[in-house]
């Protein structure tokens, strides 16, 4: 199975371990990722704040690049995913706007390409049951809370992904690899997003509340699916002891026994190795299964 792949800028920089772990598990699972040739930044939260048309044209060009491939488009970054879905939604609703954006991009835009987060691909195309069967390491000593942040699930009518109030896909995947999933009510609360640089004090307050709530839920770590959330949660954590924050793809890669996993931990601003060690998950002897590909 092949997918078109739009990594987005964060996955080449602050979110590098999200890219590395996504590529590693897709490679292991026999799922090919075809990176869009000549992709550009989606403009994230800045372009649409300044210029409505530019805010749509930037992601639209990437949709146009995906068209000739005829594959589902996988977008790991929550902010990029949100912008892609926003342009899809806007162009489907307004033909005059569609014509304007198509002129800016210089080509017709097909709004029927499925735009999918990595969570969706692993849940729908692989399935938690199958992932559970492939896992060679059970993460039963790891107490987690799943954290989506905002942009994967809101606005619900635009992104149409999971349940915006009580999302279940990430918890189901974490359960599948044996991790403990603690109950909490903050899975889709905001971490501050790009206010991290604009108003650091506010971001510290938002992050500290999330970490305090995760701790109260009994968790040792927060698991994210967004590179903005991950860097904010690790960079804007003021309290001690600091709680490491994983990408869900890192934990799945760990459970699958992928040898690459050891190259991800050193990338974190908050070193997760002490937690992995105390959970019996560091330097484990697990070997990945030889996959019987369907």
């Amino acid at each position: 199975m092949s997918y078109a792949y739009y990594p987005g800028c964060s996955l080449h920089a602050t979110g590098i371990e999200y890219d590395l772990s996504t590529r590693a598990i897709f490679n292991y699972l026999g799922l090919e990722l075809v990176e869009l040739e000549g992709w550009n930044c989606c403009g994230a939260s800045s372009a649409h704040a300044l210029d409505h048309t530019l805010g749509l044209a930037l992601p639209a060009r990437n949709l146009a690049l995906a068209q000739p491939l005829g594959l589902d488009l996988v977008v790991p970054c929550a902010a990029c995913f949100n912008r892609m879905k926003s342009v899809e939604h806007a162009l489907q609703a307004d033909t005059a706007l569609k014509a304007e954006i198509e002129e800016a991009v210089g080509t017709a835009i097909d709004t029927s390409i499925p735009i999918r987060p990595v969570l969706d691909v692993l849940y729908e195309d692989c399935g938690p049951q199958w992932l559970a069967e492939q896992a060679v390491l059970r993460l039963q000593n790891l107490k987690t809370v799943p954290y989506y942040g905002c942009l994967l699930v809101r606005p619900p009518s635009v992104v149409q992904f999971d349940d915006p109030d009580a999302p279940h896909i990430m918890p189901d995947l974490l359960n599948a690899i044996g991790a403990q999933v603690m109950e909490w009510s903050y899975a889709t609360d905001c971490c501050g997003g790009n206010l991290s640089l604009i108003d650091p004090d506010l971001t510290y307050r938002l992050v500290d509340r999330l970490v305090a709530q995760a701790r109260q839920a009994g968790a040792d770590t927060i698991v994210t699916a967004c590179p903005l959330c991950q860097v904010n949660l690790e960079m804007r954590q003021a309290g001690e002891p600091r709680m490491p924050v994983f990408y869900f793809t890192e934990l799945i890669g760990l459970a699958l026994g992928l040898p690459e996993a050891n190259q991800w931990w050193g990338r974190h601003l908050i070193d997760p190795r002490p937690l992995l060690k105390s959970s019996g998950l560091l330097n484990n002897a697990a070997q990945p299964k030889i996959l019987q590909r369907a």
Binding site: A13, C41, S46, G106, R154, D199, L202, M235, R267
Partner: protein
């Protein structure tokens, strides 16, 4: 041609949203993550737009502190996309030359979009560096965090470039930012 433009009609034209549908249930403001740093909060801003209090709205901190989390949009019982209203208000404030209520916010957004214009990609080291030099915040804030990111190979010193810059530049031709 009618030259009288209320803020409400301009916001509606830009965002496609009808702010007058708001009946002030306060759900947006109750869920807003940035409310502690705002002056009014989303529902009072909608009221000020309806009252055509242009100066108060367009110079407010609030429109620049919206994190774009869509909590308000998701909760509004009248289906007003309040986050889209916030985008429209920022665009109107810029178009009319208002000094932004949070100057660092406009600086950040402009740097970001300029970098995308230049490289087709974000360039975090460049944005962070220029932002720190020009923002109102103390220069040394975040130097430690920036260094830690750099040491972990997470902010490459050299920019990445899209492989099709003419295609990217074309998108900016009619940009009014």
């Amino acid at each position: 041609m009618d030259t009288i433009s209320t803020l409400s009609t301009e916001v509606s034209t830009r965002s496609g949203q009808q702010v007058e549908l708001c009946y002030h249930c306060h759900k947006c403001t109750a869920g807003c993550p940035a409310i502690t740093a705002m002056t009014y909060g989303p529902d009072r801003l909608l009221r000020l737009i309806a009252l055509d209090e242009q100066e108060a709205v367009l110079t407010s901190r609030d429109i620049w502190l919206c994190a774009g989390c869509f909590t308000c949009t998701a909760r509004c019982p009248n289906d007003i996309d309040i986050a889209a209203v916030m985008d429209a208000l920022r665009q109107v404030a810029i178009a009319r030359g208002y000094r932004p209520g949070v100057q660092d916010a406009l600086l950040f957004h402009r740097l970001y979009v300029d970098v995308v214009h230049m490289f087709g990609r974000s360039y975090e080291a460049g944005i962070l560096g220029l932002y720190k030099l020009r923002a109102k915040q103390p220069l040394m804030n975040d130097m430690g965090a920036g260094l830690q990111l750099f040491l972990r190979g997470k902010v490459p010193l050299l920019p990445e470039r899209s492989k099709d810059m003419p295609g990217v530049r074309k998108l900016f031709e009619r940009s009014q930012r």
